[in-house]
């Protein structure tokens, strides 16, 4: 099974971002996704900067993929999307049907990101016809659904030529809104948000009144409070036909996680327990926030 680094979902400074990808270039991952997927006001790196960075990273021999914005409403956002889809060189991950439409017009293979609603094999088949060669399962789905979906895909004769990727580590992207919750926290209008997200490289924690860490505010995106971690399930994932496990960048721990995942894949690490701040419920068809101990 291959390992990928997902796009950075938070807003990091240009310096922080470039330093991260310098490390990523040497890290033991097969695929690097990069680009702004959450908010078009985050412009520490421009679309051109991302394309240039992607091109220079692809010289490392890793596969590099440009990820596109998830919630596209403004014309300026479509314009950026067109620029990324037209880059002519680097593979694209579409996170909205607008991206799917453009890539299908271009007739080049592309990746369907985690915010594209593929819940069954028939939908996967529709996407395959558009040119999808890899799909990332929506984060709220789990093992059983995936197994059934892949079995259906096999029966339909569409499984060949499609890779399956699973979001396996990091806070989960759970929702996208017109409203910016980071700006709301600061009592600022979204139009004048002062780019407060940059002060929160790991988002802003939302606790219940009983101090449960429920969610995490990341601009217009709401993330899980707990960190999703499927490290202990990697070998099972491999068995049922997952081709790629995605690690979503988090401050400090990302590359340690890459190494731990590698060890787990090679069978080096034995028991892998989750910490209190982690969850894996979705994989086991339980509430996403839950920690489930696998029976096998």
């Amino acid at each position: 099974m291959k390992l990928s680094l997902g796009p950075i979902l938070y807003y990091w400074t240009k310096q922080q971002t470039l330093a991260f990808y310098e490390q990523a270039a040497d890290a033991d991952v097969d695929i690097i996704y990069l680009g702004e997927t959450v908010c078009s006001k985050r412009r520490e790196l421009s679309a051109q900067d991302w394309i240039d960075l992607a091109k220079s990273l692809s010289e490392t021999g890793k596969q590099v993929v440009l990820s596109t914005l998830t919630l596209l409403a403004a014309e300026s956002e479509l314009k950026t999307l067109r620029k990324l889809c037209n880059n002519g060189d680097i593979m694209v991950e579409a996170n909205d049907m607008a991206g799917v439409q453009l890539m299908s017009e271009h007739g080049v293979p592309f990746v369907s990101g985690p915010a594209i609603n593929i819940y069954n094999a028939r939908a996967l088949n529709v996407m395959k016809k558009q040119g999808v060669t890899r799909w990332v399962m929506p984060v709220e789905l789990g093992r059983e659904t995936l197994q059934e979906l892949l079995a259906d895909a096999e029966n339909m004769g569409i499984k060949d030529g499609i890779e399956t990727e699973v979001y396996a580590y990091g806070r989960l992207p759970l929702a996208y809104s017109a409203r910016c919750f980071t700006a709301r926290y600061y009592d600022l209008p979204k139009d004048n948000c002062q780019l407060k997200c940059i002060e929160h490289p790991e988002g802003i924690a939302v606790h219940s009144q009983e101090d449960d860490e429920l969610f995490n505010l990341n601009g217009i995106q709401t993330m899980s409070g707990r960190t999703y971690n499927l490290e202990s399930e990697l070998s099972n994932m491999q068995k049922i036909g997952v081709d790629i496990a995605r690690i979503s960048p988090q401050v400090d721990v990302t590359f340690d996680k890459v190494n731990q995942f590698r060890k787990a894949l090679s069978g080096e690490s034995k028991t892998i327990a989750l910490s209190e701040a982690e969850c894996n419920g979705y994989w086991f068809k339980s509430p996403g926030m839950d920690q489930v101990i696998s029976a096998d």
């Binding site: 409403a73 939302v206 009144q209």
Partner: protein, 331 residues
């Protein structure tokens, strides 16, 4: 503009029809629609009766089959499409590509509308759904500003429907998994958000507590209006503040935008609330019918009447209404 009204039951359907709906939308009694609640929706016989009633008054019937099917349940979605075709409904409201693919292939004459759960916020997305499934109309999510709605409408290859009134979903519909993160059900998978089976109310010394799968969503002091614990409308702690960190309980009301929506070429306005009472349906449908009729008779003189506001406030969540994302200030 067509007035599209919710019907969670046969009595709500009749009331909507009698009070001036141009179309009503219904769902079947299972998880194929996004209001999969106990005691709600239509089994075959009721659907036939509803259709006959609406037909006689010249009112259209749409069927929402707008959740996402998974392998094991596919036959239910397939059956819902087949049954709708057999009933002879005016359109299906769908979100799942699989459902649209099946319906378009099997029943090419049956009109398809893209549900709000399909999450189309721009015209490139609408082009995708038109090219692949021949959709005739799309319902836009409640996340767009009026200006954005106008732009989408200008370039849209299909008719557009927008939300007029009802519960305010603050997230882009179809892309929100908050509910399945705390419970085991979400709108996409089960047609439910913050499901009632997981709600627990408890009077404690610190106040009335509302929990969802044991997670404390809100705590109300005596005399406070205790709303349903929809998880995005709870009071949470962020830094040193305890507040509605995501959204306050409010309802969307766009009645004053009728002239702008009409000018933008919007073909239909939708009232949310298949889970609401017949009294709600009556009040909201009647008020909106009057407003649209007044605008159609005399567009220049259109003003929002005080009576309308008062009537709608009675059935609003938290008794507040907002223009929501239609105004940039709210965003």
């Amino acid at each position: 503009m067509e007035l599209v009204c919710p019907a969670g039951s046969l009595s709500a359907l009749k009331i909507a029809v009698d009070n001036g709906a141009d179309a009503v939308y219904i769902g079947f009694k299972d998880d194929t629609n996004a209001r999969h609640f106990a005691g709600l929706n239509f089994a075959d016989k009721k659907a036939q009766d509803g259709l006959a009633y609406a037909r006689e008054k010249g009112v259209k019937v749409f069927v929402a089959i707008n959740t996402y099917s998974q392998a094991a349940g596919w036959s239910r979605w397939q059956r819902a499409v087949d049954a709708s075709n057999e009933l002879g409904v005016n359109a299906l409201i769908c979100a799942d590509m699989a459902v649209m693919d099946y319906a378009a292939e099997r029943y090419p004459e049956l009109p398809l509308h893209l549900s709000v759960q399909g999450s189309a916020t721009n015209y490139e997305t609408l082009t995708f759904y038109k090219n692949n499934f021949g959709i005739r109309r799309a319902v836009l999510p409640r996340v767009l500003s009026l200006k954005q709605v106008e732009t989408v409408a200008q370039y849209s290859p299909v008719e557009l429907e927008v939300f007029a009134f009802g519960s305010l979903c603050i997230m882009a519909e179809g892309r929100c998994y908050l509910s399945s993160y705390l419970t085991d059900e979400s709108p996409n998978t089960c047609g439910a958000c913050s499901p009632a089976k997981d709600v627990r109310w408890e009077q404690t010394e610190s106040g009335l507590e509302a929990r969802l799968n044991d997670v404390l969503i809100d705590r109300f002091e005596e005399g406070e209006n205790a709303g349903y614990p929809t998880l995005c409308k709870g009071r949470f702690k962020v830094g040193d503040k305890t507040f509605h960190a995501i959204e306050e309980p409010t309802s969307l009301n766009t009645i004053e935008l009728i002239p702008q929506l009409q000018a933008a070429g919007i073909k239909a306005v939708k009232i949310e609330g298949r889970q609401r009472s017949p009294a709600y349906v009556e009040n909201v449908v009647r008020t909106w019918r009057r407003a649209i009729d007044l605008y159609n008779t005399n567009p220049e003189q259109f003003r929002v009447k005080k009576q309308w506001k008062e009537d709608l406030a009675k059935v609003s969540e938290g008794t507040q209404t907002t223009l929501g994302a239609y105004t940039r200030a709210w965003q």
